[in-house]
Symmetry: C2
Subunit: 394 residues, 2 copies
């Protein structure tokens, strides 16, 4: 039995992906761009074992056996095996040849709640594809395969700042992720995830974006005329580490994505009253300072992702804590990177208003840009035991 | 002293007006279309007195003296006096000549709460312009002047179904309201106003639409590419009395207007959680019947305007009552046209879900399409006394 264990990161889009031009190949109607989050805070770990003793492919997700026949899972398995066979033909490796005929057991866990709107499928499929690639000794371009698991997964194949170029080809061979800058490019950048609600979302992103493509005239116009310009501007603002421009584009693009959801018929609402309050808080905070010090982005759910620079973190977190007083005694309110208690000036407090909403934010995860997937060399981290089944602790 | 008293209606746009291409003349970036509501339920009453004893122009709005120097008010006064002078030259009338040199006292009241998001400025300016026209004996096209008071006021100059053609000229002479069909064209049509919150709105529509024009790329695309098509389709659906098409277009256009508000930077939110619940209730209701029996429209506030046909009113009102149980004992929950208690089938109840929100809807006004402004012949309705000041009861 051969076991390989890898980890992969979550990514947060700052130019949003919403809408496919091809449902099977997962080809998007516009390019998108994301920041890969650090795996110290958020990651998926996947172990894959191959053995001649296995009678069927099996998968366990967060401790429960899942459906291996799921079409997107099958796409990833099929494509990576096809790639491994192709490479094997040119540089024949005995081990790989043998393993390719074995069934696999896949075991995957997230260190964060699934379906909390934290793009777990992106990290999950990136990790699956990366781990399979390591198992079969496949090198090179993997984002095209990860994309076929979950569109945004292709961006989790790289660290730092990553664009998913939409491509033009019908077979999707040019619809790939590319690293724009590495994770060390903008060391001051920080990301705060404000977990607003862990409820499962009403409309899943797969069906939501399909309805949007079918019914929203504005989505089509956004994809064709707005995004191409914004991609250029966003890449430039990242390269220059220009937070003013980066933050504004991030907020505008998040708002436009949610606008197209509202333009969908029937309309889709992902932002709730707490999300709206966070948006208002961010704008008042920036207005107070006369510059964009903090920016929000929301995916297909009410949680806010806040981008800011290191010197602003303590104060802004304090402000969130004050505006959404934690209902429990607060020691689990802050997770991730250390945050020091901040001081709030009376001027700032009067500028942002005193409208309190207890319990509106459940907790905050503080993180930063991080690297792409990696292979674990520590066998103690394997999720599968020597019997090829998930370890008890998983 | 000469006193004239007139009334004018509220209108609800089903193709929304949002954005000016000329702020001074109030020229819109797209055409719009509205239904004029019946004055039995909602109206503005305005009395205007002219007397040589008056030393200055004065105005009272809902019992309080207002600022007569307000620029839009001045535009209307100036334009209608100019028109009166022009007409006088051709067909000299002694009375009008004399009155035109007098100062005026204007007194205006609404029979519904101002600033409740019920487009009180549309009825108000339409009534002002119409009453001034009667005072000065001006006949003919008044919508161009009403438009200069408040854009949507031009549509309140006519009854029934009214389009405001955006026009092309820089001087706005072709930016006019036109009646599409009279108020008797679609006798079964009913309108329910669900008053969600009487709070004053956060962002007024004048400044809101200005920010949208300046910052929303989607608004520009909507005005240029979506609305022209929708105007045609809407007029056709009204002419055919096709509620399926009328209702769907109404909902889609309301959603798209709010989408452009969200695409504005900083974003504007007019819909709250109750508005979202009403939207969801309407879609579930229609889904249950497999047809569009009810449609919503929201202006720059959280109140819902529901369009439906007479046979559906009782049941849908009952459903609203059930989903948003009135907090007081319910005898003031229903205003306007009579509504009978409806029966809700178990099938319907299980289809719409049992998520209750007590007090979410404050009250309902039931009404129907109605006629345009008219002059009162009953002097007891004059709001100004023989001393030229508001009567005590006003």
């Amino acid at each position: 039995m051969k076991v390989v264990t890898c980890t992969a990161p979550v990514n947060i889009a700052v130019i949003k992906y919403w809408g496919k031009r091809n449902e099977d190949l997962i080809l998007p109607i516009n390019s998108s761009l994301s920041v890969t989050l650090h795996q110290d805070q958020l990651k998926t770990t996947t172990s894959i074992a191959a053995s001649r003793d296995f009678t069927e492919d099996r998968i366990w997700l967060n401790g429960k056996e899942g459906d291996i026949s799921h079409s997107r899972l099958q796409s990833c398995l099929r494509e990576i095996r096809r790639l491994a066979r192709k490479r094997r033909n040119s540089a024949a490796e005995d081990t790989v040849s043998r393993i390719l005929n074995y069934k696999v057991h896949i075991c995957s866990v997230n260190n964060f709640p699934t379906a909390a709107g934290l793009a777990s499928s992106a990290a999950g499929y990136a990790c699956l594809v990366y781990t399979l690639a390591k198992l079969y000794g496949v090198e090179g371009e993997l984002s095209e395969i990860a994309r076929q698991g979950s569109g945004s997964a292709c961006r989790s194949i790289y660290g730092g700042f990553v664009q998913w170029v939409m491509g033009e080809r019908e077979d999707g061979k040019d619809s790939l992720a590319q690293q724009v800058e590495t994770e060390s490019h903008w060391p001051e950048l920080r990301i705060l995830i404000l977990v607003v609600s862990a409820e499962k979302k009403h409309v899943g992103s797969t069906s939501g974006m399909q309805t949007s493509v079918e019914t929203s005239p504005l989505l089509k116009l956004r994809a064709e005329t707005v995004v191409p310009e914004r991609m250029k501007d966003m890449i430039e603002s990242i390269k220059k580490r220009d937070f003013e421009s980066f933050g504004q584009l991030t907020m505008k693009d998040s708002n436009q994505f949610h606008a197209t959801c509202l333009d969908t018929y029937p309309p889709i609402f992902y932002l709730n009253q707490i999300s709206q309050r966070i948006i208002s808080l961010v704008h008042r905070y920036n207005d107070h300072y006369g510059q964009t010090k903090v920016a929000y982005s929301f995916d297909a759910g009410p949680n806010a992702v806040i981008f800011t620079l290191e010197p602003t973190v303590d104060e802004f977190v304090e402000l969130v804590k004050r505006s959404f007083p934690p209902e429990s005694n607060g020691d689990t309110f802050l997770k991730g990177l250390p945050v020091k208690p901040g001081l709030l000036s009376p001027d700032l407090l009067s500028a942002v208003g005193s409208d309190l909403c207890p319990g509106g934010v459940q907790y905050i995860i503080a993180t930063q840009p991080g690297p792409g997937p990696s292979k674990s060399e520590d066998v103690s981290l394997d999720l599968l035991g020597s019997d090829g089944l998930p370890k008890q602790s998983v």
